[in-house]
């Protein structure tokens, strides 16, 4: 049994009266590629945002590598409004901002690419090295951190060579073709030295050939960087190819969990995607 990396427990995210994620429980173990799938509007990205600290979940708990990182329970106005389960299970409130989580070793990419627009490819990746700095503003200004700066640059170069972006390193990031921008976003996330990589629809907007390349690329970085990967995806080919396990959610609720073959034949999943006819 490999070590648990991410443990999500009874996670509920409610906006006003809408329960976007309802009592989601999931586990990601070391070295696994786990996919989170579901029809449009099922709450996948919301779950992602709650795990990465963008949203404060309404109820539930998240642990990362055995350490509790997020815990919350309904408070204030939400106490009356709360429509999820396990309202009394959690007593503590623990909130972490996305940058703290990234420092712990959780890096993510975005559904719609968010690169640093004005910067070159090289600077984009170099900027992500900022969080592991030991210099402060004075030593950095007076260039007393020359060694560290050189190390950051060297590591960035190495990383860009590994992901095959070195030849475009001086181009402005947003000038790259779409597939390469995706790749760069993943490379930038890798620059933060993550243990767990969260990919939000990495193949969105890609043609079949690009998708295939991406599949290879994800396998490649997992081996190279000893990563554990959690991804959200719509391309079923990619998902079935790549994942060790799959969680399916619909209307915020988990409806199935298992290896790709099980999911493909699961009636509930088929119903969720294709719809159930009214007369049955």
């Amino acid at each position: 049994m490999s070590k648990n990396v991410l443990h999500v427990e009874n996670l509920t995210m409610q906006f006003g009266g809408v329960v976007a994620v309802d009592n989601l429980t999931m586990d990601v173990n070391e070295g696994e590629i786990v996919a989170l799938i579901g029809p449009n509007g099922a709450g996948k990205t919301t779950a992602f945002n709650a795990i990465t600290g963008v949203y404060e979940p309404t109820n539930g708990q998240v642990s990362f590598a055995g350490e509790k990182i997020i815990e919350n329970h309904p408070q204030g106005k939400m106490k009356k409004l709360y429509a999820g389960a396990n309202a009394d299970m959690y007593r503590h409130i623990l909130v972490k901002t996305p940058d703290e989580l990234t420092k712990l070793g959780m890096a993510r990419t975005f559904q719609n690419i968010r690169l640093f627009k004005s910067m070159t490819v090289f600077d984009n990746v170099l900027t992500a090295k900022h969080l592991r700095r030991t210099s402060n503003i004075f030593t950095a200004t007076l260039k007393l951190n020359r060694k560290e700066e050189a190390k950051m640059r060297r590591e960035t170069e190495e990383l860009l060579k590994l992901v095959d972006l070195y030849d475009v390193k001086d181009e402005i990031a947003t000038g790259l073709p779409y597939g390469k921008q995706r790749k760069l976003e993943i490379a930038r996330a890798l620059a933060t030295d993550p243990k767990l990589l969260l990919l939000d629809e990495p193949a969105a907007g890609m043609n079949p050939q690009e998708t295939e390349e991406l599949t290879k690329f994800i396998h490649y970085i997992r081996e190279k960087f000893n990563l554990t990967i959690l991804l959200i995806e719509h391309h079923m080919n990619l998902v079935m190819d790549i994942s060790d396990r799959i969680y399916v959610i619909d209307f915020g609720k988990e409806i199935a969990e298992g290896v790709p073959a099980e999911i493909q034949s699961n009636q509930k999943v088929i119903d969720a995607y294709l719809g159930v006819s009214e007369d049955e």
């Binding site: 900022h130 503003i137 950095a140 007076l142 930038r188």
Partner: protein, 362 residues
Amino acid sequence: MWNQNKRTICNLLLVAALILTLVLIELLAPSTSMWFSVLRKVCTFALAAVSMNLLNGFTGLFSLGQAGFMLLGAYTYAILTIPVDMRSNVFRNYGDSLIRFQMPLVPALLLAGLIAAFFAFLIGLPVLRLKSDYLAIATLGFAEIVRGLVQLQNFGPVTNGPDPINMFTAPKNILVYAAISGISILIIVLIINSTYGRAFKAIRDDEIAAEAMGINLAHHKRLSFIISSFFCGIAGAMMAMCNTSVSSVSFTSAMTYQILLVVVIGGIGSISGSIIAAFIFYASSEWWLKFLDLETYTDAGAKIPLLGPGFRMVVFSILIMIIVLFFRQGIMGTREISVYDGILRIKNLFMKKSVKGGVKDE
């Protein structure tokens, strides 16, 4: 790498040439020359514009508190450098000054920056949670509050209430101004080129992505705000030196807009642009376009139409409109000046001309 070195050498030569020009002006220009007062002002506002650019152009925080921080710097500097025996004279309406010592120029300048930075830290705590326009309004409000507060009678023994402060140390030599401004701008450039500068730019480009990459937003925004205000305070002290008298009425929001204008004309996100724009703006408004304000008569005694008090501002506004309409990026955009690249470009231009109708691949 070699190209990078060439670039650095060329830019150092440019700086050396600038310093040489300043020394020559200081030594050779007649003492009545407009160069002196204009260059003093240019140095002051170049620093103010660059410090505003650090915040607005490089960190993406739209703040309009510059006048407030400059006021704090100017007052701190002025109060601390009045000679002891002059104090009772300056503060005659309030008996005597509470502060009974005189500081040398450099420590007073530093303290001017530190006081501004300290206030930036305090108001940054609540205000930096706000974004874009809201931040602008809050900082603008802060500047106006500070201006109102120093005029209070209760603070009289320290700030001289609404009366102006004068008699403090005010060097006349333009090289002093150039040195203060130059060193400060150099430090800002070093910050922007450091790993912190990259973090600032990341926040400007995409806050959410920056946070996801492990950049602590609150910390870095506060840092940028404090650094910018520190140099604003120093610019304020320089303004006090320029005018040889400090009065809270001169630190209006109109001054902030003027600095903002310089930043926009120069290019938001360009240090050299801010400096060039500061020169063009203040040289033309204080000197080259000054004749527009004077009623002028031809030799025959006929009055030249339109010239008269206030006309300068009309022409100036039109020029600014032209800049905003046709040079939306400002003079420099987000680029920095580079002599080497300029030479290359001119070279390319000639090369292209010599090969008539040749291939145009670059």
